[in-house]
Symmetry: C2
Subunit: 333 residues, 2 copies
């Protein structure tokens, strides 16, 4: 049997039960954006790691080394944001073909440094080695949060309001611009930039984790449809999403109209938004939402509800349930 | 300019000064076996990461998935051992070609689990993705040690005795057996096993770090010649190694004699020994050495001295200095 027949999640489910008994009860292991290791009476440690492979996650021809250096750290910071934690340090491992230009690597590292400086994340270690083929980039980020405040996927409650911190689908639109070589305009350029330079929602994550009533949280990396299912499965709930409420940028709407794309498909199945997806108890929603707006000058968008029931998403359009098949990426299929 | 012209250490030296100002003063960053992050009044956190690339670090035809799963974690545990710390959790990221047999991956994970269980290291997370070419394995291990006890490379003193925890060159001999397809005997089999199944010296590292007089420590991964230079550079010292004192296994001596290999070259330049290299003050050496022997029933081998002077190694054979050029691996050259 080939790996492609069972997929990424199929593979993980084969070995993760084997390892479960080794995890101390106070730890959170496989299955959330970060692992959580309790440190002391005051703080918990959160850790995340991501692997970026050339020709799978990026094409060297269509991403600059600056963008790549930025994004390598940004996507890991997004996982730290999803826990409501603050980053404390990063580790960068690179496998590089020997004929790579040093100037390319200098640009990569300069940009990795710029985002490290922006978010005050020291680079503490890593590994560099030769690669016989593609570039491989492995980043690990360690973060900290006040004890027992890290937000999990498994803690959504019935009736909670499903929210997102910003526009969805821009990154997938940007990726389509790149693939289809759509003419560059200020709007398509905006989308491409959202694809290559996602903003990790660190302050948003920290605020949300500190407010009463925010129950579950994760970042949207595989697409809303796939990622909301992660919360629903982990929490043992079903959910409803009102497609008319999905926040779409004017730029995505304009480019989608011109190109004949379905922006809702991009916003649900596209992936790499790196906005935060959270659930908020209905009695706290008004306070949370006002606090969010007064702090960041932007809306926390309510897009759906958590319900009792088997893990599944009901998609609503113009008040009626519709069927929606795409479920986001599975890297092996 | 190509990466191959400047090598791995050349590349690292281009960017590490840029990042130095971001590292808090109480942290230890790039340049040791692990990074150190202080946690609280009692404990420090140590973190290490390693990247293993198919066709660079291993050939799929000549290593079983069991050996590969074991070694992926073992080499990282060796870095934790080198600090004198205890492992607290691991993170495993895999990039895998889609046509890989699931049975191959099951065997890899079963063996990764066996060593995780042996050393009580929970697998806490990671990332899995498709690879267009080679398998890439990135492992990160987190460990803990009592506050301010982690052993560094930079703290060797004049007159210290340079010691190693076990036989050198076996792993390099085993690698030669594999490359040269030497006939399998109990001796060549022993060497191959030492190459694929290195034992992380965790209890040895913890004991040494707890004893007064042990000044610097690291693990031998690139070979004695290269790794001792790391201690000498970090400590601003020179060193002497008595080649007649290098501990060689009977198996290595026997196979080397039969095959016409130079075991001393394998023991100094070969790499992947994963024994610990430490420096011990002369006034404490007797106590440390006796304590080591009574705990583990094996010798702590004194092989040389730390001296004042520019970082360099003097190699002594039969009481006279000899010139020795090989310096171990540099992955880009």
């Amino acid at each position: 049997m080939k790996l492609s027949e069972i997929g990424e999640f199929g593979f993980i489910s084969r070995f993760s039960p084997l390892f479960a008994s080794l995890v101390p009860e106070s730890f959170t292991g496989i299955g959330d954006d970060c692992a959580i290791i309790p440190q002391n009476g005051k703080e918990d440690l959160v850790i995340t790691t991501d692997l970026l492979i050339e020709n799978i996650h990026f094409l060297r021809d269509s991403v600059t080394p600056d963008q790549l250096g930025y994004k390598s750290l940004a996507v890991n910071l997004s996982d730290i944001a999803a826990m409501g934690a603050a980053p404390a340090g990063s580790f960068l491992s690179l496998a590089i073909p020997a004929d790579t230009e040093v100037e390319y690597l200098d640009a990569f590292m300069k940009s990795y440094h710029a985002i490290s400086e922006q978010y005050e994340v020291p680079l503490l270690g890593g590994d560099t080695t030769r690669s016989p083929g593609n570039i491989a980039i492995s980043v690990c980020v360690i973060g900290k949060c006040p004890k027992n405040t890290a937000k999990l996927r498994s803690t959504a409650n019935d009736e909670d309001i499903v929210c997102v911190t910003g526009h969805l689908g821009d990154s997938a639109g940007g990726f389509k611009v790149i693939l289809e070589k759509t003419a560059m305009t200020s709007e398509t350029g905006y989308l491409v930039n959202r694809h290559y330079m996602p903003v990790p929602r660190l302050p948003e994550g920290r605020l949300l984790a500190s407010l009463p009533g925010v129950t579950a949280m994760m970042d949207i990396s595989d697409g809303l449809a796939s990622d909301l299912m992660q919360i629903l499965k982990a929490s043992g709930k079903s959910g409803t999403v009102d497609l008319d409420k999905l926040p779409l940028s004017e730029m995505l709407e304009k480019v989608s109209f011109e190109q004949g794309w379905d922006p809702i498909e991009l916003a649900t199945a596209g992936g790499e938004d790196y906005e935060l997806l959270c659930t908020v108890s209905p009695s706290h929603f008004k306070d949370v939402s006002e606090h969010f707006f007064s702090t960041f000058g932007k809306k926390l968008y309510p897009i759906g509800r958590i319900n009792k029931g088997q893990p599944s998403v009901q998609w609503i359009r113009e008040g009626r349930e519709i069927i929606f098949v795409k479920k986001g990426f599975d890297h092996f299929k």
